[in-house]
């Protein structure tokens, strides 16, 4: 128990989490502190490239095995299936209409890369390693959830606008910039290996955690602004969903990871991916494919409720689940 509290404390008092809190508080207090859009996008590109690269380099160092194929399949299945669970939970807990429920559900099947990064940062602090190829699993988990969400919406008789022009956002899904960057950097890391990494680690490794701080400051500002503008959309049932869903999703992900024999760190990471909710790829696809769904609901829930919950408590919890499952 002491151990658990120490772990939770270590996470909560890390500069990364505190930077998020600073952004959140500043935005809620209506400070005019703001990060330029180009800088936020630049920080995000840096993080995606850095973690893709790191994952690839680790694969180059440790080699591949059959597990990776299994991992990718499990990732796709989790991403496609979790929205079904999310949809049912949403309809039970929040009474959200079918279209909005489908849109929200899609976010929870997909993943949030910054939650992945925060989890790997916590694992690193406590000296737990994980399989580098989980970065590729993260990438393949981005998109399948979108298809499930659109299927859920079409079941409810609402595909896009009346005259059908919303249509399937195939292009938006398949060539989404963040997926391409993550996979691309992963392949580069794999190709260049540790020797290539040594050349660029002055940029992609040493300053990583500090840059992550600024990125989380920005996430806090955006999340706080969203909460301020859209808190009235967050009825208690929805907020409850935003906390229950990641815990349930995390547990399912943890069990899946344990079943395919991941390490303790790997189980924690797969749990985190399952528990996290997308805030880049999915909202943009929903805006095109389900224009009648309200962005204020899905964005605020993913970024204003679930992301802070995961950052502050979730990833600690998923690591505990992983330890308990693997005995690690």
């Amino acid at each position: 128990m002491n151990d658990v509290l120490a772990l939770a404390g270590q996470n909560l008092l890390s500069p990364v989490v505190l930077a998020f809190v600073l952004g959140l508080v500043a935005a809620l207090a209506r400070s005019d502190l703001s990060i330029p859009e180009a800088m936020a996008k630049g920080l995000s590109i840096y993080l995606l490239f850095a973690i893709g690269l790191k994952g690839g380099v680790e694969v180059a160092a440790t080699g591949l095995n059959a597990q990776i194929g299994l991992g990718l399949v499990v990732g796709v299945v989790l991403s496609a299936a979790l929205p079904l669970l999310a949809y049912v939970l949403l309809r039970l807990m929040s009474g959200l209409d079918p279209i909005n429920a489908a849109a929200v559900a899609g976010h929870y099947g997909s993943i949030s890369i910054v939650t992945f990064v925060a989890a790997s940062s916590l694992l690193q602090s406590v000296g737990v390693s994980f399989e580098g190829w989980l970065v590729a699993v993260a990438a393949v988990m981005e998109a399948p959830a979108i298809l499930t969400a659109l299927w859920l919406a079409s079941r409810a008789g609402n595909t896009g606008n009346g005259n059908g022009n919303g249509g399937m956002p195939w292009r938006e899904i398949s060539l989404n910039g963040s997926i391409v960057l993550l996979i691309g950097a992963f392949l580069i890391g794999w190709a260049v290996g540790p020797a290539g990494m040594a050349e660029v680690e002055g940029f992609f490794v040493s300053p990583f955690k500090g840059i992550l701080c600024l990125f989380l400051l920005d996430m806090g500002l955006v999340a706080g602004r969203g909460l301020r503008n859209s808190a009235h959309h967050l009825r208690p049932g929805l907020v409850g969903f935003g906390i229950v869903m990641p815990v349930v999703g995390g547990l399912i992900g943890a069990v899946a990871g344990w079943l395919i024999g991941l390490s303790t760190g790997g189980v924690a990471i797969l749990a985190t991916l399952s528990a996290s909710a997308s805030y880049i790829a999915v909202p943009a696809a929903m805006r095109v494919a389900l224009p009648r769904a309200n962005p204020a609901i899905y964005l605020t829930l993913a970024l204003g409720v679930t992301f802070p919950f995961n950052l502050a408590f979730g990833i600690t919890l998923y690591l505990l689940m992983a330890r308990w499952l693997t005995g690690g």
């Binding site: 606008n161 920005d218 955006v222 503008n229 805030y279 880049i280 943009a284 805006r287």
Partner: protein, 103 residues
Amino acid sequence: METHRAKRIEIMIETPALRRVRRALENAGVRGYSILPVEGGYGRTGSWSSEGEVSIASDMDMIWCIVAEERAEAVVDAVFSVVDRQIGVVTISDCEVVRRERF
């Protein structure tokens, strides 16, 4: 300098849908258009701002398009048949241009 009447079509559109509107404009035969960034706004769904945004999900863009008068209606129709009608704002107004053959 001799000037000629033309129409200015201004479209405020969600960035995720921009690619589709562009294709519609090009297919409708416009000779050109320009895209201006928009950094925030207010509407029925509340306020938004592009500050600090990593995702383009809540961003908007302004399309500024000058067309010959006789082509304006067809262009507006084309845009509307593609854009979901609940998204964005489309306005048409009069203007004068110098070289009519370019629009």
